[in-house]
Symmetry: C2
Subunit: 338 residues, 2 copies
DNA sequence: GTAACATACTAAAGGGTTTTAGTAAAGCAT
DNA sequence: ATGCTTTACTAAAACCCTTTAGTATGTTAC
């Protein structure tokens, strides 16, 4: 039994397919009696327009893509994503759009992009000139860059460097000299990208704080780790086991910091007495953590919301490329001694 | 400048559109020289097949829909969703599928379903015979029911009643007699559904524990609240402000329990000395909470994974409807005194 | 009584691909 | 030279809808 098509409804209602289409799309051009008749026939047959056919014709599927340069599993291991999606959802709910998560297919983002039936993309963590997304510019598919460099395309970023600088400054001014910095590992494929990602921006902030405090910076204290609670936990445990005894840890992501907290607990370290920890993001659970996490707040939900909003308006009028810079702010809680 | 189509590539390469299609879909039927020639032309023109056209023909877009009966923002306010999506992602990553979040359009799930270019749906929190999803059965679109009753359709559920019973039993056997139970409020539209949802199953478990302990059950102690940390926080604060002084709180969701913890902290209550709290789900942050949350564990990631897996195989062979029941288990942590 | 216009509907083109059925040429055995 | 199979490619139909341009009818205006 094949799918019920517009032709079936037309036949049943005794009208042309065009009339059926009009019934759904511009009922004002039809007499009320006809509309009723067609609606009845459609109802009885259980007809709904085929979304693929509709999208093919109008190039509008009502779907925003969220492009993430890693596996979905790895991405959502970081609570940042839930909050970001929540924010995008705010705009989607409002504009009746759906939200699609697009991650590499067979390791290729390009492939994933070209197969995804989305009207546009919010791109997380890649710059606008990244080769993996160049097909989008060529095909004039609208996209918004988040946490990445952009000039032509609209973008949403946080003031990472300032926030990072504040957090490092905070620790340095309290006398800490023996820090460890946990940064998130880029997905393997992007490891050697020349592109300046968020991690690097935050590092730059830390480095600036070192300069301002006249403390000598060494790349040796920077340890990359997979960006998840487990990643941070394991990473810090290894650091400790290797004999290093930092008095404080700076993390470029709350996921890592929460992991450090867990590791510290397991290792019997008291926070903040034996070890101070500062994160980045202020994900919802930072405030709930044990102890509550000192971190650099960026408005994640708002970030997602404005990215989706920007994309939605780009779909409508494809005008004006706006660049949004969101503020960051050090939130002092209990993983640091005041 | 219109989109580059298969015809453009065909013209440029001096072959028929069919040959171009074959180049991408079954290159073995072509001579290597031709494949090279076409690939080169496609590359030069920046051609990628139109996903809508492809999906129209094959009825396969490579997209799994996650149907949620509430707004995306509200859904992702509950950390359960992030873990569930993570699990679905595991299966999607493996099978090269994308994941689409579909929530009501203009308040209508039906509308959202009919517009979504997804190959099938994982349906969260509705039974298979719910009227909002009946169009799917009629159109023979595959779907998997999660946290809902199903007989014909494949389903994934947790043993909610047993888990809930254990948790209530645990509190009752420690002498608590003055409990409050926080349940999550259904989205308004589904408020009066006759359908037995997870919340009710869990309540049934609590009730059974009351019976087993010969304690009289009263519906008055059951307080519905929006299912988020904020919801639980506010709800418990109101309860306390209203003069009630329960010695323990049972929550049908960790989101609520985490909220209660936050409220307790604000109200100056010590947990577990002044108030004991038990959640449900064991979301990742339950273990990290302050204090760590006693809760009923269900394997959320696994739930998402098997739901997506079931759906993916239903798409392939549309056979065998399996029903998966995942175990639950009380995890005693620090919000209860042992 | 005819031109001008609005109303209610339809035929046909188009959107971009995949797939089926088929053709032409080459290879092989007899 | 004849028939049979294989190989390499193509024409045309199909997928299901929307939209443009147009027809037929009725209404109004002078």
């Amino acid at each position: 039994m094949p799918r019920v098509t517009i032709a079936d409804v037309a036949r049943k209602a005794g009208v042309s397919p065009t009339t059926v289409s009009f019934t759904f799309n511009r009922p004002t051009e039809l007499s009320p009696a006809t509309v009723r008749k067609v609606l009845k026939a459609a109802e009885e047959l259980g007809y709904v327009p085929n979304p693929h056919a509709r999208a093919l014709l109008s190039s509008r599927a009502g779907v925003l893509g969220l492009l993430v340069p890693e596996r979905i599993f790895d991405a959502f291991a970081n609570p940042f994503y839930a909050a970001f999606v929540q924010g995008m959802g705010l705009a989607c709910d409002q504009q009746n759009l759906s939200l699609m998560i697009v991650s590499p297919i067979e390791g290729s983002l390009e492939k994933a992009i070209s197969r995804a039936p989305a009207d546009g993309f919010v791109i997380l963590g890649l710059g606008e000139d990244h080769r993996d997304i160049s097909p989008l510019s060529r095909r004039k598919v609208p996209f918004v860059i988040v946490d990445g460099d952009a000039e032509l395309a609209p973008s949403v970023n946080s003031d990472d460097e300032t926030g990072a600088c504040q957090s490092a400054s905070f620790l340095l001014s309290h006398g800490h000299r023996d820090l460890v910095i946990l940064t998130f590992l880029k997905p393997r494929k992007y490891m050697h990208d020349p592109y300046h990602d968020v991690g690097e921006r935050r590092l730059r902030g830390y480095r600036r704080a070192y300069e301002e405090h006249d403390v000598i910076w060494s790349e040796d204290i920077v340890i990359p780790s997979p960006c998840s609670i487990e990643g941070g936990e394991q990473c810090f445990e290894e650091i400790w086991q290797s004999g290093q005894r930092p008095t404080a840890v700076l993390c470029t992501s709350d996921a890592l910091a929460l992991g450090v907290l867990r590791a510290a607990e397991r290792l019997g370290l008291r926070v903040p007495e034996d070890l101070e920890v500062v994160g980045f993001d202020d994900v919802p659970q930072a405030a709930l953590a044990r102890p509550s996490l000192t971190t650099v707040r960026q408005p994640i939900v708002e970030k997602g919301r404005s990215a989706a909003q920007l994309l939605a308006s780009a779909l409508d009028d494809n005008q004006l490329s706006r660049h949004i810079l969101l503020p960051t702010e050090l939130v002092v809680r209990r993983t640091t001694s005041c």
